[in-house]
Symmetry: D3
Subunit: 232 residues, 6 copies
């Protein structure tokens, strides 16, 4: 099975779906993380170029911990726009990897880059299978798109993945984002949102997991509903 | 696996979850339908006693088509009340069957018997596992409660079961409720709701199924969220 | 009364509001369908130009069955963008027809062309009546915009039109989209979504209609609430 | 057409649906208000018996202004319970009047008497048409139940009645509840909720009406969806 | 200021609002916890009577850590019913304490005792201020009712209290429920819900707090909206 | 404290948040209203240029009544687009004023200018604090964004400001928009929406206020949740 996660910034893969990616990789699935940007706006006392380099390296190390391949799409941090041109770039990206499923941000996430990424991926999904849309790679037909977000009231997951056995890997991967941990703990979001980066991730996963009878979990919605064979 | 469906009236099992029950039965699960009442109010030109007899016989034949055992709980049609005494009767019923999962109506169904049944089952679920609650049968510990309803805006299923291969069985079972088909097509609900009993069931199943990529489906919500091992 | 439906692709008029358009036409209203695109991406083993020609012809035949006039707006299938320029084109289109009401897709439809069309129409609606906005046609003042979608959980109609007497016309019109039926049944949406094009439309209309006491219905939301004179 | 409004307390008819009742009465419909209680708890420096007498007289005068008949059901203010016995009393009440439509409180109103009334009426509605349910009056078959509430976020009306021409009558009727105006302005609800009884009613009707293009309106939801013949 | 929390079982005060109660107590407010039951069903290898004694003692120690007084209302665990008689008992309880605000469970909590408590308190709230309702204590007029629940999708708090400085006290109080910790970690709720009692409480408080810029928080909804003097 | 309201058109400040701005100004806060456009499309028998001049003068007088400074951002009425370029202009505007809080339209307002303004402000908010984003003014760090809308079902405020003592000022300021009152009462929105401009504003404020125990109020949602120190 081929899994493609398309995320806005280097640490989004770990924060939102790192346990799920690690779990799929661990059973032998091909997992790829496509980074829209290198997160080159997320720092101070540096330049965009230098930070891009640092964060790309961190992203590669983090993905390696998860067992995922990486690719960088060269959009600009804080400046991803919802345009037809960008949509067609994502069509190319998805066709190149021809995944079974795609993971990305949910559409109502407040961060402008997350929102734009979500909509671009959904729109591209509706085009990748069209034979008459010509591009470098042939059409493909992913089964579904899964959306992730933080366990807050505006994101209400309906698909919950047990990541208990992969929480440690997820946290280990997250710790590779050294430049961001300093930045987030000082600056990121509202005051105490990332006062302790790993404790935050663990609390979210535990709060969500307990509601479903496991210790740690990650949550998703999906574009198409799917069926189960039996109630369990 | 033991499946226990607790429904208010004889035809509710077929209308709401007949395909799912048939599917579980077909793979060898023990499936039981507990009827709160015999639906003895659903007719004319007869008596409650006579209708109860007719409908019990129809329910037995329908359940037989689905591959399910039946039990009758002797509540009164149109008069199920939400009382502690009734809740304790349901504790006894669930403990007697010690199912892995329980199926019942969703709590916001408008029909008063459906509503009362739903709440009695949910409340009983919280008590069946308590060692200090003494009763005829020992404590048991079902994994979850699943709720069914019609595919309308006030019931939004999050668990969808593919019943394509069992739709025919479901319809065949539904047709055993001969006394009700005449009654529903003449009287039931609002004007055209059951103008054609089987076509109604098929339209609902097809509308729901297509949203999830299959021909026919039934939908449920659940008391506890559960996890999946992998995204699919 | 003048009714203007603005739809993204040739078969959207029939799928979403064909019964309502046929009913309005049958009582003598002037009904026009404006097609944003010719749906020229919806096929294989052909070219965009050839498919556009085929589908325009099908759309003309289908609209003729409904009793509607047609106009084509020359946007590109799969590539409708939400731009000020496109909004102004829709201002011109609406002013040209000066309808009493406008029908279009609902804003949260997942298909990118449907979403863009919906927002462009709503935004244009706020501008068509402004005297200071100069254009080829004079200002006009439609009473309301009605939005359509599929009867799924994310589209919850509050205005339901009884189309029982026009369901046959609707299906007949839909069957004119020959090129699409082959395409949809093989490719369209998720697996079984259009396994049988007409059965799908009929199941949706029956599921929705029965909730309101009729055999077949179509559902809408509206931009402005309206009043009734009496409860019925 | 026969309209039956079943309200918990004497002034509820005017507050929630007085304009609609006046409008139906004005066109010649038979309108009846059934008061569950006489509101005999809503005062001070008096007794329940004395207050019941005062408020019954006020209710009769107010209903007379609206053009409605009245009946009193003899439940106790603040103590309406959701029991099978009470439901059967409402079955009798509805069968006695055999209305075309029934109006009552919405189920999630916070006031315990309003909630109980709403549920008792809905449950009774499901029983009034059953031939096998014997009672003093013969079965009847109202078309629908309409629910009213205050225009707050938890009550979201989907049926809006233009009462502009009857707002004056509504306010005149409301002013008959002299004992309540003193009580409500001093005590009722939270601090400023009824600081000026008539201004409150007018603000609510104006806020709701303007959203639908009229000066004053009242809002309802309904048990069954209904259809319209044409979009307007 | 007088704060009265009415909870179903001994440990509910700590789980749901322990930090808030500790914070109010710390600034000198009079805080009382009224326990509907002694939680005498929550154990094994014991009797209801013995467990009631154990848990009352634990509740007293826990409340003492929070700085709260306690009272026991003598309802039966697992068997709180929603009756007029029970409502009047809560009227008496609230009038006796004459609090400024009341805290209790939210109405849609799934646990039957929590649901019944919530509705009984809300209904009692509407009666405590009525002069004509005679009882042992005089009428009182609490300003508002606050509702608590777990930070899951069905409970969406709109009032968030920063309890960072009282999280330690809350956890210390929770640890007094020794008999429950063993019981919950072995039996309580679904599998991993309380695998580690204190870690669970901390994760919930951290997940909720971070969304509002603090380390630990508790969340509430309220019966009446209130105003702020200024935006902050 | 510095308060910055960013509104699409000259009269939006008074309609949506005039009482709140007046209240903050009255206690000595620095309040600025930034007008995206001069509302130069809102008239007839004039030109855009002439109307812009008239409305700018009216806006200055109205803001003066509220006690607020003004700035004009030179976007075009009816043509505000959601572009990266426009977002960066708003970054500059916010950095220039370095406010503690920002007020703007809510994202789901139907008016296209209101929607675009809302999203541009939210997106800009995520960028103003980034050190690596260079611009004319230095980074700043507003605490929160507050969103306003009309008290309809699609806007459900969670922060309510008591403006009773400033309602008169708000209405006085609104009356400065002479050119708009004529226009709105004749043309604006749907038929009776602004039949009496001041009565409309007063009805909305009274309907909202009474729900929270005050005479007049305005309502907001916010980007980040915030905490309270104590329940009140």
């Amino acid at each position: 099975m081929d899994v493609l996660a398309i995320v806005a910034h280097p640490d989004d893969a770990e924060i939102f779906c790192g346990g799920t990616l690690a779990k799929h990789a661990a059973r032998g699935d091909d997992v790829t993380v496509a980074y829209m940007t290198r997160g080159e706006f997320g720092g101070f006392d540096t330049t965009e170029a230098a930070l891009a380099e640092t964060r790309e390296a961190e992203a590669r190390r983090a993905a390696s911990v998860l067992g995922a391949d990486v690719t960088f799409l060269d959009f600009k941090d804080g400046r991803i726009t919802y345009s037809l041109e960008n949509r067609l770039e994502l069509v190319e990206c998805i066709r190149e990897h021809a995944p079974d499923i795609v993971l990305t941000h949910f559409a109502d996430d407040m961060h402008p880059d997350h929102r734009a990424t979500s909509r671009l991926v959904t729109d591209a999904y509706y085009m990748v299978s069209l034979p008459l849309l010509e591009s470098e790679h042939p059409p493909c037909d992913p089964r579904n798109v899964y959306y992730f977000g933080k366990p807050t009231s505006s994101f209400d997951p309906t698909v919950i993945v047990d990541v208990t056995d992969h929480q440690e890997t997820k946290e280990e991967a997250a710790l590779e984002h050294e430049s961001q941990i300093a930045w987030l703990e000082e600056h990121g979001g509202i005051d105490a949102e990332f006062s302790d980066f790993v404790e935050s991730m663990r609390a979210d996963a535990h709060t969500l997991g307990r509601q479903a009878g496991v210790t740690y979990a990650e949550g998703f919605t999906r574009l198409h509903e799917t069926t189960v064979d039996f109630l369990d």
